[in-house]
Subunit: 93 residues, 2 copies
């Protein structure tokens, strides 16, 4: 996602701050990254136990509050790619 200039750290703090609470609702991984070469870009790579668990999480009050807080700080430019996780290292079985 692309953030409005100057708001990256605020968006990142919200994303990272909310990540631990996602574990109990089926989130296995939630990795927040930034880029040296494009300072208004924030990447999130997530692994969920199911698509249903992810979709349900979007209805949680804490998550909705986080989205409400973050949306005004974003430009609206999003790209996303949904994947089936096959395996690897650090991926829960």
């Amino acid at each position: 996602m692309r953030v409005k200039p100057g708001h990256r750290d605020e968006v990142v703090a919200t994303l990272v701050g909310g990540a631990d609470a996602l574990r109990v609702v089926g989130c296995d991984l939630y990795v927040v990254g930034t880029s040296d070469t494009d300072e208004d870009l924030v990447w999130v790579n997530e692994v969920w136990v199911s698509k249903e668990a992810h979709d349900a999480s979007l209805r949680l009050p804490e998550v909705r509050a986080s989205i409400t807080r973050t949306m005004p700080l974003l430009t609206g430019e999003f790209t996303s790619q949904e994947l089936d996780i096959v395996g690897g290292l650090g991926v829960p079985e």
Copy 2:
């Protein structure tokens, strides 16, 4: 990365099969994913303790053998994005 048609499972098996061995050389996460909507596409999301550890891994005999085996099965179309990992869930401290 994009695989030549019909070779996805072979590429995925090589990537997943080699992932565990990367832990001792500084790889924290190595997540291999495929797409429902584009069956010749394979995604790998990696987290390393440092860029140096990643670069050094490319010189390991096992990794070089894996690359040699996989390259002929790929179209040559790669995209990549290097990130600084800020935090989240499931990310080693």
